[in-house]
Every structure is written in C-alpha cells, then in structure tokens.
C-alpha cells in the first residue's frame, strides 16, 4: 500500500519534470528536468522492486543512476565545449544557450 502511494507520488513528480523538459525554455532547463526525471525513475524502480517483492532488480536502479549521470555529463560536455575530445583545459564554447 505504502509502496503504491510512493509510486504514485513519484509518477506525479515525473509528470511535472516531463512538462518542464518539454517547455524548456533554455537548454539548461531541459537538462535539469531530464536529470530530475532520471532520478525519479531510479526511485520508481527501487519502489517497484519492493512493490513486486523482487529486490534483486535493484541492480537496475543502480545502473540507472550511473547511466543517467553519464548522459547528463555528456550533454554538458557537448553544450559547453562542442566536442568530445578535449580534456577541458581549452574552452571553445561553440554553442550558446538556446
């Protein structure tokens, strides 16, 4: 029961984050919303693991955290430097915020 309530709360939050991701307005808002959405998905999975009583699927939640982190970092790298090969010392900043 409590898990169901938690799942619902998380779903509502996801919906809110999703609307922000759709509305923008800047690219950073979108990234922020995507990040938040990812975090909430992780929580949803953790809750669902308990809901369905299969706690071994918590591994997936663990994976989600990682992947989410990496994709957010990758987006930032692209937005900030416009390429994937620099180590970060030089800043070419090809793309301004939208």
């Amino acid at each position: 029961m409590i898990y169901a309530a938690a799942a619902l709360a998380i779903l509502v939050t996801m919906g809110l984050a999703l609307t922000r991701a759709l509305l923008g307005p800047t690219v950073y808002d979108r990234i922020l919303a995507v990040n938040m959405f990812g975090t909430k998905t992780v929580l949803l999975i953790a809750v669902f693991a308990f809901l369905s009583d299969r706690t071994d699927i918590l591994d997936i939640a663990l994976l989600y955290v990682l992947i989410n982190f990496i994709s957010v970092i990758a987006v930032l790298k692209l937005v900030e430097q416009g390429n994937f090969f620099t180590s970060g010392e030089s800043t070419t900043n090809k793309m301004k915020s939208k």
Partner: protein, 119 residues
C-alpha cells in the same frame, strides 16, 4: 466489451507509439531525427514483444523462492538480441550521417537531393 478493451489497451498504445516512430522516419528530412525515429519505432516493437510475454500475476523470470508464476522468458531473450541489433544499426547510421555531413555540408535530405541534382 470492457473486458476486450482492458485486454488490449496495452497493444493499442504500443501500436500508437510504433506509428509515431514510423511517421518520424518517413516524414522528416533531417537524418539524425530519422534515426531517432527509427529507434522509437524499434523500442515500441520491443514493447509489443514484452507485452506478449507478460503474464498477469507473474514475476520476472529469475527462479526464486516464493514465486510460482513467471513471465515468458523467450520474448525477453529475443528482445535482448533485437536491442543489440538496434544499437548496432544506430551506430552505423550515425557514422554514415557524419560522413554525409563532411561530404555534403548538410544533413537535410532536401538539400542533399538538390546538390546531387545540380551535379
């Protein structure tokens, strides 16, 4: 009737998703977006398979104590393979897009078409 809808709504939404992806592929001119559309199309097909493999009241097919009903593992296996095939296709498609951009200076199909015609 109600029972019929409850038993099939999942397929219908999945079909709707599939068609959104398919539409993106065939209606857009931007090559990256086409590949995104292709991915959506494929992921929706995966959802169709997994829906087929679902058993209500079942659980994920890892044998554990306290569970007797498991969902069908075969569609899961097929989809694992299909996901891999999908990412391989995506990688190749994107590689081609990069090369096309270098050769033509654009990734819009219309402009590429114009350039080829003017040759």
């Amino acid at each position: 009737m109600m029972e019929f809808i409850l038993g099939h709504y999942n397929y219908w939404i999945v079909i709707f998703l599939m068609m959104l992806g398919f539409y993106t592929v065939i209606s857009r001119g931007n090559m990256v977006k086409k590949i995104v559309g292709l991915n959506i199309f494929q992921v929706s097909v995966f959802l169709l398979y997994i829906s087929i493999g679902n058993v209500s009241g079942g659980t994920t097919p890892i044998i554990a104590e306290g569970f007797t009903r498991y969902s069908n593992p075969l569609p899961h296996v097929l989809i694992l393979t299909a996901i891999v095939v999908g990412v391989a296709t995506t990688a190749l498609g994107l590689a081609l897009v990069v090369r096309i951009k270098e050769a033509y200076g654009t990734i819009e199909e219309d402009e590429i078409h114009d350039q080829d015609q003017s040759l």
